[in-house]
Symmetry: C2
Subunit: 396 residues, 2 copies
């Protein structure tokens, strides 16, 4: 069992109608008065979430400045706008209302609000984050888990970079999770969200030394997504399905599923973020295309990692050892079950179908090694840049 | 899935030699200068833990006041002493070095240090806790999980009461967990500790609506204790076993294993705390005697709760449905496996063997209903006081 430090101070408020009275109470306890409210394309106005947040802000006597239009794969240009608003209006709290993109950009805004320089500097060197505005989140989609971690991913279109930003100062103070807010999420995003959730848990699962409790959490999480995604797609307002997906997503990036394990380098995320930095595809879809190829490649490169693949087959997909002639067949059946699950969600078969070519693969591989949170040598099976290129080629 | 609020702000520092440099760093970051160090019977002086803590306190330039001799089943009289020392010396941090008793008493001391009245008042009415000193813990035994929750249990021998105290102000700020500190724990306490850990997870398992992720955590935790307790007893310095037991215990009372589930009334703890309030027996042993009787009684009273017993048999004890003729046989085999595990640890067969009679059972049952955290009606199967008496009688 590996050593660790763990600190996860966000207060979670989860359940149907959980904003009601609770949001205004949490604002009042802390005395916040000037709030920057951030959101994306404006779906929160159609679904009524905007009005619910505004009513609570009004009850708490807060003045509100707004920044809408935060993009999927959020841009550093939006962060600059938000930070400028915070400085101009002396904002004392940011409330992010939306999905991972809005929350990620808002974390960066909280840090940039106290920084005199280009916001991108803080991505390139997080030690420059010395102070940050507090952040509340109101999450509207089960996906990134950004509501319960201290990091985000920001895109710089100028430099073609999509990089993580993280600091202990960026934990949300309070995160509100109302599963009913996810009823109206378009199917395509529910699907991409579920793929993202699964990927977070896969990243923590395919590590050399897996914590025993971590394994229990991860397998329960993966089973949850596999069980409840089809239910949510069939009945958009199935509370039980939406609640389980939302809560599972919240635990995905929080670190709890990694405690006691070897450090994970988040290899699939590292590779996918490069792809979506170049092509602006949906993160979850990119992950689903890469995942089975990456897992197969790991096993090919180092067959000694096979026990985890047996766990995947038996504990996640419920296959029984006695039904297979060999361990290899069992493992293959587990991987096929995973691919079948992605297919059942209508995930594109490969990158070629979504217009990606091998043009930038070498540059992407170099980026993964240079900028991601851990070097290629810390992947489940140590990688070279050539290995990254090979996995990307298999995705074509 | 049930609504919840969750807040768990303690920073955990876990691993071999985790005190080294980290404790002094955490003290210095926060600027603490006058520390009350609390501990129990003094075993920390024999094991060297005392010296390690002192070295870090010295490195951080702290002045230290000491309160040793905190009892198992800690007394409110010790709390009064600690609070008086805090007031007298203007202490700005309490460090609890020891097991659950030391940590529980220290939480109460942190609160009582700012209270002008009898410390017991704060047990009877937690709303009187308006402010509390910050607390660090250095845990030396895998048992209560007090290092990662905001509650404790305090005994008043005068009034024959053993009651919980809890407040959001009582979360430890930082908890240090070095598995090697538990190598020297006497076998009797390792055993009692493991029974306590299991009981915490059973309390969260036997609830009406069990969260799916919660179930994964609980089953992994129970398997951990069953696997690693015998290993730790055989090889006292088996790091892997001690680390897994310690980490499992830390998650036991933190609330994470209850999220998404119906509220648990902690029925077994409620009943046992009454027994050890009257007889001063070891908490973990009392729990192990009561648990199988309580579980059997629940099922007798309401057979509709049987699915969880099937989970226990299959997911925790690895029994296979196809090996049993009926669900009833499978369930019975699971309960026998649990009893056999307790027996293998040498747990006394019943209360009679440890000198307990039925003399106070009625008074105990009345106390459970009056003072515990949730009423008898919220037990897994709703109870009356007569039911409590009946379970206690079956323990004779």
């Amino acid at each position: 069992m590996q050593a660790f430090q763990y600190y996860s101070p966000t207060k979670l408020v989860f359940g149907l109608d959980c904003l009601k009275d609770n949001l205004s109470k949490e604002l009042q306890i802390r005395g916040y008065k000037k709030v920057l409210m951030t959101y994306g394309g404006g779906s929160i106005k159609k679904t009524g979430v905007y009005d619910k947040v505004m009513a609570e802000l009004k009850d708490a006597g807060c003045e509100v400045v707004e920044l809408g239009g935060i993009e999927p794969n959020p841009r550093v240009t939006s962060v600059e706008k938000g930070a400028a608003l915070c400085k101009e209006h002396n904002v004392d709290l940011v409330i992010a209302v939306g999905g991972g993109s809005t929350m990620d950009a808002s974390k960066h805004i909280c840090a940039a609000a106290y920084y005199n320089g280009a916001a991108w500097d803080l991505v390139l060197d997080a030690s420059k984050i010395k102070k940050a505005l507090p952040l509340f989140t109101v999450n509207t989609i089960a996906a990134t888990g950004s509501e319960y971690d201290h990091a985000g991913v920001i895109t710089n279109l100028e430099t073609k970079e999509k990089l993580p930003i993280g600091s202990v100062l960026l934990w949300p103070q309070v995160s509100f999770l109302d599963p009913s807010f996810t009823y109206s999420v378009p199917d395509s995003q529910t699907i991409a969200g579920s793929c993202d959730i699964m990927s977070h848990f896969f990243e923590a699962y395919f590590v050399r030394d897996l914590g025993t409790i971590a394994q229990g959490i991860i397998e329960a999480a993966l089973k949850n997504v596999i069980k409840y995604t089809p239910v949510a797609l069939k009945e958009h307002d199935n509370y039980e399905a939406r609640a389980n997906l939302l809560w599972t997503s919240t635990l995905g990036c929080n670190g709890i599923s990694q405690l006691g394990s070897s450090v994970t380098a988040f290899p699939c995320h590292a590779i996918e973020h490069e792809v979506s930095a170049y092509y602006d595809i949906t993160h979850g879809i990119g992950l689903a295309v890469i995942t089975p190829r990456l897992l197969r490649y790991f096993l090919e490169k180092d067959p000694s990692v096979s026990p985890r693949y047996v766990d995947l087959a038996c504990n996640v997909f419920g296959l029984k050892k006695e039904d297979y002639k060999s361990e290899a067949e069992l493992i293959e059946a587990g991987l096929v079950a995973l691919e079948d699950f992605y297919k059942s969600l209508g995930i594109p078969e490969n990158f070629t179908k979504i217009g990606i070519t091998d043009e930038h693969f070498k540059a992407m591989a170099a980026h993964v090694n240079k900028y991601w949170i851990a070097p290629l040598s810390l992947f489940f099976v140590p990688f070279t840049e050539d290995d990254v290129v090979e996995v990307l080629k298999r995705c074509l």
